[in-house]
Amino acid sequence: MKISVLAAATALAMCAGAAHAADIEFWYGNTGNVETAIKAQCDAFNAAQSEHRVTCVGQGSYEVGMQKAIAAYRAKNHPVLIQFFDAGTLDLLLSGAVVPVQDVLPDVNWNNYIAGARSYYETSNGKLYSQPYNSSTLLFYTNKTELEKAGVSKTPVTWEEIIEAARRLKAAGHACPFVTDGDTWRVLEQFSARHGLPIASKHNGYDGLDGEYVFNTTFAAKHLANLVEWRKEGLVKLNADTKAGNYTAAFNTGECAMMEGSSGSYAASAKAFEGKYEITVGMAPMYQGYERHNTFVGGASIYIMKGHDKAEIEGAKAFLDFLRHPQQQMFFTAATGYVPVTNDVLDVIAESGEADSPKYATAAIGIESMNQPHTPDTRGIRLGFYVQFREVFMEETQKAFAGQQTMQVALDSAKKRGDELLRRFEQTYKGAKLP
């Protein structure tokens, strides 16, 4: 029984292989309106040419996509193209399971990608490992209608102004002035980057696997302690404090007046606000007296996995070329709010006469945010078991928000546990060299 099924499956696979020379699979993790946009791109690719056929498979989340990719790779059953999120970059770089896109597509003008997007995904000698896809960065959203109701006419830009506005909102009886989920990406990574602060030594791990976390000693520690105080004061709310139970939902329904969120959630917010509130979106807030640096590129990029034949690689190249096309990037930006990260797309948008259109609202701001002055500490994050560290950070800081420990104690123990992860990663990849 089992054997016959196997035989049938093999026969089927062979038939399929014979029918289409390049039938490729692309695994992605997004859901909701982003997934709709991805599927539309896949359909557009299949409709635009007949030589290759891409099957896009949604995995439900980035993490699940990675889990399945690991299992599939070990079973030699992996797709050609896979989308991975930012935190998995180092795992992929050292995995030996992927080929750098710049090796597969040497003729593409990769310098077209803005520096902020390149630095996160490139090797130490500047070779791009993956093709940035749904790129996002941290932005600051406000509900202008609610702010004006509370007498705040100027959109806050700095943390000081945000807190002042939050106090006014609270005084006006607003239950939720500012909302965040305390996610590592938002409150630590993007905060440290734009304030020019290191998260770990060795330039966040770019100079070797033997770095150590330092965020508990930087200004980020002060900011996180501030968040705890502001939450006590009723100015800052977390997911669990909101009726909606989730910070973006709480902002979209008008429950909360300000939030720091990914550019990727812009389209959903703008749609929810339609006819009810006016939305503003700007660069993420700074503390007064700090020079603004770039924010990290977030979201995910597409990797080419090893172990596929020439025809499949050709199909993968064609699909990547298609996605890089300005028209496709513009479509994706308009549909989701993710930021186009190539210079030519920005030119096309500027020439299209729709540059001020709300659908491209995040493009210019996102690019501006990622194009701020760089330091070696704001290239990106190259730290081992980083996905696990994000969990550790959330766990420890949640305890601080609940009042079980001070924020400094939380950050110190997050650093300690994080360093243990780094040491184990170093040992696991003993002898491996950062590409």
């Binding site: 795992d91 139970g245 305890k399 928000f401 609940a402 992860l421 184990r424």
Partner: protein
């Protein structure tokens, strides 16, 4: 018990009948467990290649990790509280349903229904029921703001988890215990009543002693199952939070292995958890099982 030979004429037939099940168990239980034990002696890279034998290093590291012990301790607290309640509540319900009180017949049917609900679905429903803003405890919150906050307060989250687990455990234990109670001959009750024993006395001196085998069975199953079955609930209700307050060992293993790509660490903890469950079950059989009298 009659000997097997009277049931099956061919001695290979029973083996053949059991074979598909054994194959499944081997494929989906013994092979992965063996793999986990194997990996627990190596530092394994997620995508394979370059795995390194490290002897007992992984065990030394895990056992020295305070987070492991915290998760282990939470597992034990959950196991003791949730599984005792998951037997006690159905026991009360079964004793009530066994007496011919009003509605006991429909109750016998209705109480079995949750068996058909998957753990994850129970989790989704309970997350809603215990939601601090719209759930059943929301009125309490409007009187005392912040008194019920499972998203912030670890104890509240833990209580939610236990409630969901107990609810999910009712049907199976209820059926087993009720069956035990129903099989007690009526003459026993009548004799006890004749001797002047009231309803409570009859419960403690006649019914409970006579359903010891069923109680023992449900307890053993609950204790071992609560270690692993909490996963679906945690994953849907709390995600191990807030602040790791509901990160039981089984969830920590999942997070380390599948979210953190730490295959060796997760395997090592799996091995330890497995040994713990085996010892626990063995202890139950040795210390409790001997006292259970299966003869009537």
């Amino acid at each position: 018990m009659s000997s097997d030979s009277t049931l099956f004429s061919n001695r290979w037939l029973p083996v053949l009948l059991v074979a598909p099940m054994m194959l499944l168990i081997a494929l989906f239980f013994y092979v992965p467990i063996f793999q986990a034990f194997y990996w627990s002696f190596f530092l394994e890279r997620p995508f394979g290649g370059g795995s390194e034998f490290v002897g007992l290093d992984n065990f030394a590291r895990v056992l020295a990790d305070p987070e492991f012990w915290k998760a282990g301790w939470r597992t034990i607290i959950f196991m003791v509280t949730a599984s005792s309640l998951a037997v006690l509540v159905p026991l009360i319900l079964a004793v009530a349903a066994d007496r011919k009180i009003r509605l006991s017949l429909p109750a016998r049917n209705v109480l079995v229904w949750p068996k058909g609900v998957a753990g994850a679905s129970i989790g989704v429903v309970f997350a809603f029921i215990f939601n601090p803003f719209v759930g059943i405890l929301a009125p309490l919150n409007s009187i005392f703001p912040g008194i019920w906050a499972p998203g912030i307060n670890g104890t509240d989250a833990f209580i939610t988890l236990i409630a969901a687990h107990v609810w999910g455990g009712i049907p199976f234990n209820f059926v087993i215990l009720l069956a035990g109670l129903q099989s007690i001959p009526r003459t026993m009750h009548q004799a006890a009543a004749m001797d002047g024993a009231g309803p409570w006395r009859r419960i403690f001196d006649v019914q409970l002693p006579l359903i010891m085998p069923q109680l023992f069975l449900t307890l053993v199953l609950e204790f071992t199952e609560s270690v692993t079955s909490a996963f679906a609930l945690i994953d849907t209700i709390t995600n191990g939070g807030p602040g790791g307050a509901t990160t039981l060992l089984v969830y920590k293993i999942y997070m380390d292995g599948f979210s953190g790509y730490d295959l060796s660490g997760a395997s090592t903890q799996t091995a330890i958890l497995m040994v713990f469950v085996i010892i626990l079950t063995a202890a139950q059989f040795i210390f409790l099982g001997r006292r259970v009298n299966y003869e009537r």
